[in-house]
Symmetry: none
Subunit: 404 residues, 2 copies
């Protein structure tokens, strides 16, 4: 991964400007033997030109054979070994649905459940209520006030929600309240160490209030909490890379991880198109050294198993690339956080095609088009995703020499 | 190497079935400039087809430039970094000649030597007696009884043998009895720490008895012992990979290493042909998730320096591959544990051609034939042999995603 001590020593406060364009789940597989992958099938004249002029390679998100979730995969791209920097489940869930998690906060995942008149859980997922039903229950819980702590709550998908606690002396040393087995009552929040006692006490007050407010709202008439976690205190982009960095992403998860590494989060609308996103990059371009731009729909269409639709998303990105190229970035990296082959309908471990275009500093290799099999022969070879930021800084001439 | 903590978290108890076919010492070198290697010279239509359909690459057994012995090389293939998991020499020798080493056992290598009437060693290798002579001496030593310990002894090649001690409170903290220099008497077994004192005492009783029984049996009239070692307690395949694994191998060393990682050892005959071995894989196929099948003779012919004979062994494997393909494995990996170029007559460090065939999950690269120079351009790139098991599990869809 990025050597942060080295980066702190070598990273300059000036140099070229970098765009990191991530097409989520970019990597794919052929639909049939001897056929093209999604990226190879896509008509991408702009990316092909950049591939021809720059350096290509394949990045390994976490380790060989490991298919990552979006959180770890993005941490990797940002230079943080996802096996070292493990973001707690509560924090991932909270940032994934758009709650902000700051230093000192405690985040936790919640499930709505069904309890009977004796308080025994009869359904740990409240009959898998639809998201709208979860949102209604969250409205009931939103204004519970507990002295000494500010509580944010937000609905997730179906029976899920997340909570972020903000206040002095909070801790994630609190055990899950989900008893895991049916036929048991929800557990109270128990501290797993003395440091967690205050937090457990506050959470229990909240749980009591939640039980009152949900009474009669079957099937979701109670909650369980899991995965208490604190902000992971990741080294920040400005501190380690000397970069003023911004994030242009539509989905909360990616904004959340970007915020954890110290990027500024640019306002977006959930309905923003790829063109909209690129235009937002252009609007803020003068204010930043580094812009991370995230395209979600390559992954979504891959998970749908829709090969042709994934191809179209890639073509859509290519078509609008001139917006980014018009900014004259010194370094433009186009990659994915992991592979999501449409044939696979899921994240996979396959190394991710990566294109690093940097006029004057990137070695022009013999790759003639941007695709998985072309990238095998590229100048970047196969490399750990977490090394990418060092390469980005180097190609932007933002790193001093190491040693005399 | 395989990240065992991660594997324990992610490995499923279901998924595809895997065959790991190892041609010992597979990698080779051209006999002359511009000529083919052994594998390239071999007519291998089946492997070439699998290479065309699957992913190829080159595996690095231990580290760049390091030629491994068979023990470390196989540990690597099984996912255990051979520089971390160092199997003691006594254990390697013992399992190499077919003795079983279990948890708590102490194994040690023995040499027959010649001593004069004053007990001074005059030949540390007993005139390099042939194996039959060593076997006769072992017969004399077999039924020595020492209270409190069960002792297994077996002849190796020439003047070599191995012993396995089984009993309570044994330790490998015992120094070699070989004085290394001529003109000295064999040393008594000395404990190198208090933990080794009991073992040293028992070994000295055995050495006294051995001296008595070998008296007059010149030139092999005494023994020295070296490399006291205990079972290395390797993590087991079922525990770390969630695999029911079997080993089909003819030579004791490979059975031994496989047993140390928890594979079931399938009965074989020393005269089993490649076809016999493949048929044994077929017989047990229904009972296992993973079968390791070992072909010895590529290495043997390489060590003989017989290029053409090594080519023939490879062709023999290829010819019988339909037996394995008929089992419809989800993942078939064909590789070697290290290279043994015939021109070299020895193990070498050269990266080993590796073929991973897995319909639907392996990236089809542009490799058209299975050979060293083709594999350079394969989708697997150059990788640590100890990463191979993670790739095998991933391609068999036996690994969950890492993180959300």
């Amino acid at each position: 991964m990025a050597n942060f001590d080295l980066m702190r020593r070598l990273a300059l406060n000036e140099g070229g400007k970098i765009i990191l364009l991530v097409m989520d789940g970019l990597g794919g597989l052929p639909r049939e033997l001897d056929g093209p992958t999604e990226l190879e099938a896509a008509n991408t004249p702009n990316m092909d030109r950049l591939a021809r002029e720059g350096s290509c390679g394949l990045s390994i998100p976490v380790a060989r054979g490991i298919a990552p979730g979006s959180g770890p995969a993005h941490l990797g791209l940002f230079g943080y070994d996802p096996l070292v920097y493990d973001i707690g489940r509560g924090v991932l869930e909270a940032i994934g649905i758009g709650l902000e998690v700051e230093s000192g906060d405690v985040a936790v995942r919640g499930n709505f459940c069904t309890i009977d008149e004796n308080g025994i859980i009869t359904d740990r997922r409240a009959g898998r209520i639809p998201t709208e039903e979860g949102e209604k229950r969250v409205e009931l819980l939103k204004d519970i006030q507990i002295e000494g702590v500010d509580i944010q709550i937000k609905a997730g998908e179906g029976y899920r929600f997340a909570i972020v606690l903000r206040g002095d002396g909070l801790s994630d040393e609190v055990e899950d309240t989900d008893p895991q087995l049916p036929g048991l009552a929800p557990l109270p929040a128990n501290a797993s160490s003395p440091a967690g006692e205050k937090t457990a006490r506050l959470v229990n007050q909240w749980l009591d209030a939640a039980r009152e407010r949900l009474r009669g709202h079957e099937p979701a008439n109670m909650v369980t909490l899991r995965g208490f976690a604190t902000d992971p205190n990741l080294p920040k982009y400005k501190d380690v890379y000397n970069l003023n960095a911004a994030c242009v992403a539509v989905y909360p998860m990616y904004k959340g991880v970007s915020r954890l590494v110290g990027m500024n989060i640019i306002d977006t609308d959930p309905h923003d198109t790829i063109e909209d996103e690129f235009n937002k990059v252009a609007e803020i371009w003068n204010d930043y050294d580094f812009v991370f731009c995230h395209v979600k729909y390559t992954d979504s269409r891959g998970e749908d198993g829709d090969f042709d639709a994934k191809v179209k998303v890639i073509e859509d990105v290519d078509q609008h690339l001139p917006i980014l190229l018009g900014l004259n970035p010194d370094v433009l990296i186009i990659t994915g956080d992991h592979s999501t082959p449409a044939t696979y309908r899921a994240h996979s471990w396959h190394p991710v095609p990566t294109l690093l275009w940097a006029p004057g500093t990137a070695m022009q290799d013999r790759v003639e088009a941007f695709g998985e099999r072309d990238c095998i022969h590229g100048a970047l070879g196969q490399f750990a995703a977490a090394d990418l930021m060092q390469l980005a800084l180097a190609h932007a001439r933002r790193l001093q020499k190491y040693g005399a």
